[in-house]
């Protein structure tokens, strides 16, 4: 079963890698958008899935990644910039995590939302008061297909990490925290340490996702890269698929991404209304995530089978 899983994963990865061949620029753009949300939703679920700490800080790290690229674009090669961006994301995550992961549930949600705004205002203040400028240009020659491949690599790493955590002692500890933090603490789990580690890993992945995509935008300013919609989209996608499962965020991100893309091109004027309806529908129809439906179907089939036997 395990070898079968790994084999499927490898085939899928290779399949995704050859996808850009033979399709045009727009296709590449679509793939980048899709892969970006796969990474974001999976990385988000890496921390928020098991711990059940709902984070709205996604765009804070995404924006840090993009802004780092904007600042360093003329000074370092792209690979080195990614390393720097990841390190900055890690430092911010550790700093923020140490200060806030003792907060429980709802307070953490509010704080994480505020974090994005805080980072954005700090950068704005620094740029306007110290540099007397705001927008920055990114002139890095990276093709859309290359960005896609980098994101695919990041996606494979993200899913790999999630799989590894799920099958390790760490995964047990994390799930215990999600179920009951107090009990986990009494059982000897280093609750803060585990949460901090997951938050840091998740944040670095999100930071890299922002950094990798930044060359596509040419021009970066805080209001562009700290767009709160990204946090909400990530959250909804992960919830749709089911954040507790390895493939849940992917199963949520792919259909929703194409749905949004389709709505934006078919019904550009009713966009916002339709989006709102979709969100409501998700909450009412699939509260446990899409993948939980499969379990329910299986259970039904089994129940039906047992009835037939009886």
């Amino acid at each position: 079963m395990k070898t079968f899983g790994i084999l499927t994963f490898l085939v899928l990865a290779v399949g995704m890698a050859v996808l850009p061949l033979g399709i045009g620029d727009y296709g590449h753009g679509v793939l980048v958008g899709m892969m970006s949300y796969i990474v974001l939703a999976s990385a988000w679920a890496l921390f928020s899935g098991p711990t059940r700490y709902v984070s709205l800080a996604t765009v804070a790290f995404f924006g840090i990644g993009a802004y780092t690229v904007a600042v360093l674009a003329d000074h370092l090669p792209f690979g080195a910039i990614l390393v720097v961006a990841g390190s900055i994301g890690l430092c911010v995550a550790l700093l923020v995590g140490l200060a806030t992961l003792r907060l429980a549930g709802i307070y953490f949600v509010i704080f994480s939302f505020g974090l994005a705004e805080l980072v954005r205002q700090l950068i704005t203040w620094f740029e306007t008061s110290v540099n007397h400028t705001l927008g920055r240009y990114i002139f890095i020659e990276v093709s859309t297909a290359q960005i896609y491949w980098m994101l695919l690599g990041l996606g494979i790493i993200t899913l790999g990490l999630r799989w590894w955590i799920g099958n390790s002692r760490l995964g047990l500890a994390v799930n215990a925290i999600g179920d009951d933090e107090t009990v986990a603490r009494h059982a000897g789990v280093n609750v803060t340490g585990v949460k901090l580690a997951l938050f840091a890993v998740s944040s670095v992945l999100i930071t890299l996702a922002g950094a990798i995509q930044a060359p596509r935008w040419t021009y970066v300013e805080p209001s562009i890269v700290f767009n709160p919609t990204i946090s909400f989209m990530t959250l909804v996608m992960a919830l749709l698929g089911g954040p507790g499962r390895l493939w849940g965020p992917v199963a949520g991100a792919v259909p929703l991404y194409f749905l949004f893309e389709w709505i934006a091109t078919r019904f550009p004027d009713q966009n916002a209304i339709i989006l709102g309806l979709v969100f409501v529908a998700i909450v009412f129809l699939v509260p446990g995530g899409l993948l939980s439906l499969i379990d329910k179907w299986r259970a039904r089939a089994r129940a039906a089978g047992e009835q037939a036997h009886a």
Binding site: V32, Y219, F258, L285
Partner: protein
């Protein structure tokens, strides 16, 4: 609803989705229309600006072309427009992808520019790569060396921050020289791309002109209360008050100034002053207020344009970027009339040709529109152009500004 029906619903929805996306792929077809595409912020944070300035003019132009039985090509034949419009949801990534879609999937003949400075910059490399001319009517000229070499088919039509600053100084200089104004300036600006750019230009220009910048503050996006800043400006003793503000701030600054009877001799708030709603919002008591933009109120073409805008959209155009955008579309239309649908030839024509528009006869210098209204002033219920002072049709500036009531 049981799970089977739900599953069926999901499958049906997925199939519908797949079908329409396939149907959406453009197929090669005989030329029966000119396909024009654009992606603008119909929703999201940029929607207010895009819906005031960009979208109405795109729609008005499409109607005007339709009324003329289509676009005229060099051989005299006419083709109707086919418009493809997308929403970028105020997100750069969505905008970039929409433009890729327009160029590669829909294979449109021309793409109209998005709204805003940042968004026009974001797509400039794409327009350049795909070979589409870009007529940016809502973006101040970006501060990039070798702009027209980097993106030779991009055209920047809303002026540079230096030009706005110098045009303001030109209007004020005579009054300062004659002692009518004390030459002290209080300036506030929004901590955002627009405010930073324009205040930086103004700082240099004021210094060069020997004005005394006694107050120079920025305020963050979303500021609601300007009482303290305005008190400070009043206490500074400056005769000249300049704010590089966004519409919401502009309205608040004006309301607060009236409330506290702050009436400097020169009152110049930012974007929004040039919106038609500015006058009725302030009970018509806006005589003498200056800002960016302006129109030549005596021009018959402008009067006709405003009348058509009101007739079609039931609202007046703003007096800054709106006429510029409409004029940019006329330029495109005339360039197509001369060169046909060959995008490269059209770009060359836009760069070098002369066009007859509602702004008068226009030709670009270094891919920029420089002969335009930089500073306007409310006079008798219209926001008229007062600078460049030597531009034909320029109204005389009213300094000092009369009392609020």
């Amino acid at each position: 609803m049981d799970f089977k029906r739900r599953g069926l619903l999901a499958v049906t929805a997925a199939c519908a989705l797949a079908l329409t996306s396939v149907a959406g792929m453009a197929m090669a077809q005989d030329r029966t229309s000119v396909r024009i595409g654009y992606a603008v912020s119909k929703t999201g944070v940029n929607a207010a600006g895009a819906n005031t300035t960009t979208i109405p003019n795109y729609e008005l132009w499409a109607k005007d072309v339709e009324a003329a039985d289509g676009l005229t090509l060099p051989d005299g034949s006419k083709l109707p427009l086919e418009i493809i419009a997308y929403d970028d949801r105020s997100a750069t990534e969505d905008l970039v992808r929409s433009v890729e879609r327009l160029a590669r999937q829909d294979e449109v003949d021309f793409i109209l520019a998005p709204w805003g400075t940042g968004f026009n910059l974001a797509v400039a490399p794409l327009f350049a790569r795909f070979g589409y001319p870009q007529l940016a009517g809502t973006s101040v000229v970006p501060n990039i060396d070798g702009l027209s070499d980097r993106w030779p088919n991009s055209f920047w039509l809303l002026g540079s921050s230096e030009a706005y600053a110098h045009a303001l100084v030109d209007v004020l200089q005579p009054a300062v020289n004659s002692g009518e104004l004390n030459g002290k300036v209080a300036m506030i600006s929004i901590a955002d791309g627009f405010g930073i750019e324009l205040s930086a230009g103004a700082r240099d220009a004021f210094e060069e002109a020997g004005f005394d910048l006694v107050m120079d503050k920025t305020y963050p996006l979303g500021t609601q209360d300007f009482a303290t800043l305005l008190q400070e400006a009043e206490a500074s003793g400056a005769d000249i008050f300049v704010a590089y503000s966004y519409p919401g701030d502009t309205f608040a600054i004006t309301a607060q100034s009236k409330l506290s009877s702050y009436n400097p001799k020169v009152f110049h708030p930012g974007v929004g002053t040039n919106f038609p709603i500015y006058a009725p919002m302030n009970d018509g008591n806006v005589e003498g207020v200056m800002s960016l933009g302006g129109i030549d109120a005596n021009s018959q073409a402008i009067q006709d344009y405003r009348a058509r805008h009101v007739a079609l959209l039931e609202k007046e155009p703003d007096s800054w970027a709106s006429p510029v955008i409409y004029a940019s579309l006329q330029m495109l239309q005339q360039a197509i009339g001369r060169k046909g649908l060959d995008r490269e030839a059209v770009s060359e024509e836009l760069a070098s040709g002369t066009f007859d528009t509602i702004l008068g006869s226009i030709s670009l210098e270094e891919n920029q529109l420089k002969d335009m209204w930089y500073i306007g002033q409310w006079q008798d219920g219209l926001f008229v152009g007062i600078s460049p002072t030597d531009k034909p049709g320029a109204a005389d500036a009213t300094i000092p500004k009369p009392d609020w009531n």
